[in-house]
Every structure is written in structure tokens, then in C-alpha cells.
């Protein structure tokens, strides 16, 4: 409890530090010449800290807050939970806070992401507003999983939404596209808040108070429970970037500053999952099977849709954003399966599925934090996020490249990455469901496995593209040619996240016992996974040992070159020109770009993606047969956005334009509106009574 309070306090302190007045940056001072204004002014100036110092202190304090929160979260997972009621802090219900294992898990993840992001942020020289808001955003992220009452939860949720919105808007002066992204984000996140607000208030209305303990024992009709689940699910899905409510996500991430997108993607989207688990499995104590079908279907849809668009994306951050949709989809498949099994009475399987889902939350947070930090570094170094214009960063940014490679390996769910472990657990829980569940399971589970498998395959292609095209080969644009390695703090932040990835990848068995506490809190069915070196499933036969696989691979990697070296006779590796078929040198324009890399997949999934392309042929003036210029444009629009949102938005605009005719500025008309409205209300009331 004290640790948690300290973490929150340090967040506020970091925000206050960032508010301190600062000296003008050193570069603006004329060097050598004393500044005009006399000795007193000079002394005042010397006493005011520089921007750099403030950034370092603020970043360090935020990182410390993150570390404390992580420890507090882990302690809560290990059974040292606590709860507190601060009745005077908010009107009506007061603020109820508690940290149980489930909340502790999400607190710990948030804390870990915060440490990396804060360290990364020190070197990137963020704007003042960003420096102030980031700690507040972290505080909000810590508040949500620790909330133990509807009031505190909604307060934290709204604080999270507002601060993140400010952060998305932070660079609106530099890039006008940010404003539109922020508008999308503001609308989506607040619509989500409204549905959650309605759902939770409805739930609280049926209970004696707003505390979660009181909500758990609330007596509600099935219809009311359905309404509550569906409305809150909509809001939480919007936060988690689940299709079709994902449209804000690929826009907001590229808009946010470099070290903020890891916080949003690694910590904030998790809150959507937390909400579904907390409300669906904990507060409502599970529900009918069809709830979880919806969750599972949404998850599968998001996983496939997200990864398909990630495979097509050429903007690095947009790619990572869609990949968040994909991974949250995988998590929701796990949550949905857990609810499905729990409703079906298969407790151990449900526990396994939920363990897999929560482990994937942790893993996704780790690798996505790493990848977004690297993407931020790349953007700072090259000025672009366009994979088509990147390339050749391996020699120019060696550390960032190596760290991105680790993240990409983890994100593509291949051994020895951490994503593989959680997907393996998820697949195990699904494939062993078949004998247990009825016809419904026989139809659902193979489809879910197919969806996960296709997602995994496409994720591999996506991250081979992101890494291979973005970082290897030669630079294809001026930005990539000028790139220089990121500042040291950025590398430390990434290295920390990479270390977390590797730890999770090799030692999931050390993490799983703590995770199990969080699972048993909502699905009490014993420990689904045991083992120290080898990860063994308890209720079904199945085992895997990530660390032994990694060791075997490492051994083979050492043995094979040694073997070749022993029999090889020529040991010098000759440098030579690239094989260019004997023609002139291979230029960077001949390289495969991200667009060309994804083209075969785009053709395969043409029906699902519906790409658009346009060819403009300009002929010379004299003859239509002589072509002067051919311009080819291709893009893959977000189909949900095109088909679902654009018609709705267009209708809203039409309605607004039409309604403008009602307001023509005539006072008489407005008065008559008031009169008619009043009369109408009175008539209605008279009829009702």
C-alpha cells in the first residue's frame, strides 16, 4: 500500500517538477558574452534549472514511480494485497482503492512499461506539456486497476482518457495530421467512456453501494446483466482497439510522441482487457455462453483484421498499431475461451485459457514497448516512419536494429521469443477443449485455432517485413541515409524492455505462479501450469521448455559454424560486389520495399482487403500515343472505416447541414421552437398520466 502510494506521489512530483520555471536552452545563449541584465538577473538565471536537468529529474522520478508500482503490483500478485477507502476524496461514494492479484498484474505491467518509457523519454527532449502530462497519465494508468469502486474506476478511466488525449495532441504544431487523429481518438474514447459509465451505473444501481464487493453480490435479472455486459464490453473493446472499434488506434499511435506510444500500446490498451475480465468474469461472475462467443468472435476478427492490415501497412507505427489490435484480439480469444469453458463447467481449461490470455498481455506489453520505442527512435533519427523510405539502419543504428530484432522475434511468436509461449498456451487450451465441449465447441474451437494460426503466420510475414525492409539492406531515402544512433537513454529504455522480453521468453515458469494468483481470483480451479525448467500443463498432457529450446538452438548455432570451420580450407571471407547480373551497380531503387514485399499477400487477400489503386497517364500535348508521365497510386484503406464510419459520419454531416436551416437567426422562430417544445412535453405528460 505504501509502495503504491509512493508511486502515485512520485507521479505527481514528476508532474510538478516539469512545471518548474526553466532557463532558456543553452544553445540560444550567445556563448562567451555575458547576458545583458546585470548580476542579479544572472544569479536568478543560474538558480533556475535548465530544460535538460528538468527532463532528467522528471524522467527519473517517473521511472522510479514505475518501478515502485511494478513492485507494488507484484507484491499484490503474491498475496500482499490491500484495500483502502477514502470517503472524503470524492463526493457521494468516496474513493475505494484495492490491489488484488488481478489488479496487481495490470499495475505491475503498467509500472514496467513506465520505467522503460520514462528512461527512453529522457533523451528525446519532450516538450513541456508532454513532460507534465506523462506522469499524470501514468498515475491514471495506475489508478484504473487499483480502483475498487465504480466512482474511482470511472474517475481513473476518464483521467486516463483525458491525459492520453493531451499526449496525442502534443505535437499538433509540428504535424497537422495529429489534430485529426486526436479528434478520432477523443470521440472514440469518450463514446467508450459513455457506454462504460452507463453499464457500471446500471450495475451499481442494482447493488447497495458502488464498491466492487457490493457489486459482486448484487441481485440482477439476467436481462440487466446482459445489458451491463454488452455496454461495458463495447467501451472496453474500444479501449483495447478491438474491431470494429479500432479506428482510433492506428491513427493515435503515430500521432503520439516517441515515448508516449509505448505507454499507450503497452499499458493503456491492456485496460480494455482488464475491464472485460474484471466486469465479465469477476463482478458479474461469468455469464451465459453466448457472451463469451461474442468476445471470442470479436477477438478472432480483430486478430485477423489487425494482422492483415499490419501486413499491408508501410507506416512503421501504424503497423505496430494494427499489431496491437491483433494481439488484443488474441488476448480476447483467450478471455472468451476462458469464459466459455467456465460457463461450460470446464474449470481447469478455463483457468488455462485465462492464464494464456494474461500471459499474452504481459508479453505483448514487453515486446510492444520495445518495438514502439525503437519506432520512436527511428522516427527521430530519420524523420520518417515510412518503411518504403527507410532501410540500411543496420549500419547506422546498430543497437536499435539489434533491439528491434529481438522485439520482432517476440512479436512474430516464434521460439525463442516470448510471444511463442503465450500463443502455445492459448493453442493448448483451445485444442484440448474439443472432447470436453459440445457441438458448439466443435464448431468454434477449430475456427479459433485456424484464426490464431493464420494470425501467427501473417505476423511472421509482418515482422519480417518491418525488420527486413526497414532496417536491413541499403537506405532508400535521404532520412535513412542521415540517420544516427539514438541517444543513450533511449537505448537503455529499449534494452530494459528487451531484457524483460528475453526473461519472459526463457523463464515463463517463474512468472506463471504469480500470474496464476490473478487467474484463481476469478476462476478458482487450481494451478493450470507447473514446472520449473519445463512448462507442464497439469490437467492435460502437454509440456514445453522454452529455455531448453533456446539452449539447444544456441548449442547448434555454436556447433554448426565450428563444424564448418573444421572442414573448410579457405578461411578468409572475400568481400565482393553484390551480384547484379553483370549489369551496373544495384541501386537502392531496385530493392524490395514494404509495399512490394506485401504485394503477394495483398493479392491473396484481395477480397478481404479491397485495395485501391489508380493509374494516371499523362500524354504529351501533341499526341495521345506519346506518354509523358505515368503515376501509379495504391493504398489499402481500412475497410471498416470506409464502410461503417464514413457513411455514419456523412449522415451526421448531412443531418447537421440540414438542421442548420432550422437555425436561421430569427428570434421569433427560436421563441416558437421553445413554445412548441413546451407544449409537446405538456401533451406527452398529460397523455402518460
Amino acid at each position: 500500500m505504501t509502495l503504491y502510494a509512493w508511486a502515485l506521489g512520485l507521479c505527481l512530483a514528476a508532474a510538478l517538477v516539469a512545471l518548474l520555471p526553466t532557463r532558456a536552452p543553452a544553445v540560444l545563449r550567445p556563448t562567451g558574452a555575458p547576458a545583458a541584465g546585470g548580476a542579479v538577473a544572472e544569479r536568478v538565471r543560474a538558480a533556475t534549472p535548465t530544460v535538460g536537468a528538468i527532463t532528467v529529474v522528471g524522467g527519473a522520478v517517473t521511472a522510479a514511480a514505475g518501478a515502485l508500482a511494478a513492485v507494488a503490483g507484484v507484491r499484490a500478485m503474491l498475496g500482499h494485497g490491500w484495500s483502502a477507502w477514502l470517503p472524503d476524496l470524492l463526493p457521494l461514494g468516496g474513493v475505494r482503492l484495492a490491489l488484488d492479484p488481478l489488479g496487481g498484474l495490470f499495475t505491475a505491467v503498467t509500472g514496467g512499461v513506465t520505467v522503460c518509457a520514462a528512461i527512453h523519454g529522457i533523451g528525446s527532449g519532450p516538450a513541456r506539456a508532454t513532460r507534465v502530462v506523462v506522469p499524470l497519465f501514468v498515475a491514471a494508468l495506475l489508478l484504473v486497476p487499483a480502483a475498487d469502486g465504480v466512482g474511482a474506476f470511472l474517475f481513473g478511466w476518464e483521467l486516463m482518457a483525458m491525459t492520453s488525449l493531451l499526449l496525442v495532441l502534443a505535437e499538433h504544431r509540428e504535424r497537422p495530421s495529429v489534430r485529426k487523429a486526436a479528434l478520432w481518438y477523443a470521440v472514440m474514447t469518450h463514446l467508450g467512456l459513455v457506454t462504460i459509465l452507463c453499464g457500471l451505473c446500471y450495475l451499481a444501481a442494482g447493488a447497495v453501494g458502488d464498491g466492487f464487493d457490493q457489486l459482486r453480490v448484487a441481485e440482477l435479472s439476467p436481462a440487466a446483466r446482459n445489458v451491463i455486459f454488452l455496454t461495458t464490453l463495447a467501451g472496453f473493446a474500444a479501449k483495447a482497439g478491438i474491431v470494429p472499434l479500432h479506428v482510433w488506434l492506428p491513427r493515435a499511435y503515430p500521432a503520439a510522441p516517441g515515448h508516449v506510444s509505448p505507454l499507450m500500446s503497452g499499458a493503456m490498451v491492456n485496460m480494455g482487457v482488464y475491464g472485460v475480465v474484471r466486469v465479465g468474469l469477476d463482478l458479474l461472475r461469468g455469464g451465459p455462453v453466448w457472451w463469451w462467443w461474442i468476445v471470442l468472435a470479436l477477438g478472432a476478427l480483430s486478430a485477423l483484421y489487425g494482422v492483415l492490415h499490419a501486413a499491408m501497412a508501410t507506416d512503421l507505427k501504424r503497423l505496430l498499431g494494427y499489431s496491437s489490435t491483433e494481439n488484443m484480439g488474441l488476448v480476447l480469444i483467450g478471455v472468451g475461451a476462458a469464459g466459455f469453458f467456465a460457463a461450460d463447467g470446464a474449470g481447469p481449461l478455463a483457468a488455462l485459457a485465462l492464464t494464456a490470455a494474461l500471459l499474452h498481455v504481459v508479453n505483448h506489453a514487453a515486446f510492444k514497448t520495445l518495438l514502439f520505442q525503437a519506432a520512436g527512435s527511428v522516427q527521430r533519427a530519420t524523420g520518417t516512419r515510412d518503411l518504403d523510405a527507410l532501410g540500411g539502419l543496420r549500419t547506422r543504428m546498430p543497437y536499435t536494429t539489434a533491439l528491434f530484432a529481438i522485439g520482432a522475434l517476440c512479436a512474430s511468436a516464434l521460439p525463442p521469443g516470448n510471444g511463442f509461449v503465450s500463443e502455445w498456451l492459448l493453442l493448448q487450451s483451445l485444442i484440448h477443449a474439443l472432447p470436453a465441449s459440445g457441438v458448439a465447441g466443435a464448431v468454434t474451437m477449430p475456427l479459433a485455432v485456424g484464426a490464431i494460426a493464420l494470425t501467427a503466420g501473417l505476423a511472421v510475414a509482418t515482422f519480417v517485413k518491418a525488420f527486413g525492409v526497414g532496417f536491413l539492406a541499403r537506405p532508400r531515402g535521404p532520412g535513412a541515409e542521415r540517420a544516427a544512433e539514438s541517444p543513450r537513454t533511449a537505448i537503455y529504455g529499449m534494452a530494459l524492455a528487451a531484457a524483460a522480453c528475453l526473461f519472459l521468453a526463457l523463464n515463463p515458469t517463474l512468472v506463471l505462479p504469480a500470474l496464476t494468483e490473478a487467474v484463481t481470483e476469478v476462476i478458482p480451479a487450481g494451478r493450470p501450469v507447473t514446472g520449473e525448467v519445463t512448462l507442464r500443463l497439469t490437467t492435460i498432457t502437454g509440456s514445453i521448455s522454452p529455455i531448453l529450446i533456446a539452449l539447444a538452438l544456441a548449442g547448434a548455432m555454436v556447433a554448426v559454424p565450428a563444424l564448418v570451420g573444421a572442414v573448410a580450407t579457405r578461411r578468409v571471407r572475400r568481400a565482393a560486389r553484390l551480384w547484379d547480373c553483370g549489369a551496373g551497380p544495384v541501386s537502392a531503387r531496385m530493392e524490395y520495399t514494404a509495399t512490394s514485399f506485401a504485394e503477394p499477400l495483398q493479392r491473396v487477400f484481395v477480397d478481404a482487403l479491397q485495395p485501391e489503386s489508380a493509374i494516371d497517364v499523362t500524354a504529351v500535348k501533341e499526341s495521345a500515343y506519346l506518354v509523358r508521365r505515368v503515376r501509379f497510386r495504391a493504398r489499402v484503406p481500412d475497410r471498416v472505416e470506409r464502410r461503417l464510419y464514413e457513411p455514419v459520419l456523412a449522415a451526421a454531416v448531412r443531418l447537421g447541414t440540414g438542421a442548420r436551416r432550422l437555425a436561421d437567426g430569427s428570434v421569433h422562430r427560436y421563441l416558437s421552437y421553445g413554445f412548441y417544445a413546451l407544449t409537446g412535453v405538456l401533451i406527452v405528460l398529460a397523455v402518460i398520466s
Binding site: 579457405r570 572475400r574 565482393a576 560486389r577 551480384w579 547480373c581 553483370g582 549489369a583
Partner: protein, 145 residues
């Protein structure tokens, strides 16, 4: 139909290659007469593969270049680069009269010279075009099988 070789080749071959020669064919300006013969060398009748020779797609995978035709100006640099792309140990076979001394194209304005003027030649196969037997003999001289 070709049968497996009955007796070993007369020459011991290139010892470092030891019975396996991957060949990259370079047409440096040939009239395609030699190409027809090469095709028949690797076809069912002569089947050079039974002696351990095989055509490959990249000079990086090759041990020997099989160069046909006089080296035209356009192919001079390409031939040199192809030679440089082959990892050591490497051999060059000049196939046909044109490759040896430019043949009927000698002195033509588009011809830069014989193959030997551009890259070091190890084996020469005379003929216009050389009969498949001669080509086979040259290849067996390399593989030693």
C-alpha cells in the same frame, strides 16, 4: 538413353572440385549455335550430369564459367563482373571458336576481343559449334569422372 559412365575420365580433374562442377553459362555474344549444343549436352542423350557437372543460376554457386561467343563490348564488363562473382577456386571454359579467337567475328566493330582477352581461360573447346562429345570431354576433364 544415356548410361552411367563405364570408365573413369582420362584426366584426374581439378582436385579441389573433386567430382562436382557447378557451371554458370555466360553468353558473351554468341550466335546461339553453341547454346544448342550445350542444351543437348545436358539433355538425355549426352547427360553431362552423370559426370558431376550441373548448370546453376548464380555465379556465386558456380565453380566454372562456360563462356560462349566473342566478347561483345556490351558484355565485356558483365563477363568480368561475373568472373569476379565466382568464389575461388574458379575455372573458365571458352566454348567454341568465337570464344577462343573471335572466329568469323574477329575485327568486327562490336567485338571487344576473345574470352581470353577479358578473363583468364583455363580450358578451350574448339569447334563451330563444338560437338557435344567435345564439350563433355572438357567437362570430364574438370570433374575427373
Amino acid at each position: 538413353m544415356a548410361e552411367p559412365p563405364l570408365e573413369r575420365a582420362k584426366s584426374p580433374g581439378v582436385p579441389e572440385l573433386a567430382g562436382s562442377v557447378q557451371i554458370r553459362h555466360v553468353d558473351a555474344g554468341s550466335c546461339n549455335g553453341c547454346e544448342v549444343e550445350i542444351a543437348s549436352v545436358f539433355g538425355p542423350v549426352y547427360d553431362a550430369e552423370r559426370y558431376g557437372a550441373r548448370l546453376v543460376a548464380s555465379p556465386r554457386h558456380a565453380d566454372a564459367l562456360l563462356v560462349t561467343g566473342p566478347v561483345t563490348r556490351n558484355m565485356e564488363m558483365a563477363l568480368r563482373r561475373t568472373y569476379e562473382a565466382v568464389p575461388e577456386p574458379r575455372r573458365v571454359i571458352a566454348l567454341g571458336d568465337c570464344a577462343r579467337d573471335c572466329g568469323v567475328f574477329a575485327g568486327a566493330y562490336g567485338v571487344a576481343g576473345a574470352v581470353g582477352d577479358v578473363v583468364p581461360v583455363d580450358v578451350e573447346v574448339p569447334g563451330c559449334p563444338p560437338p557435344p562429345e567435345a564439350i563433355i570431354e572438357a567437362l570430364r576433364g574438370m570433374t575427373g569422372r
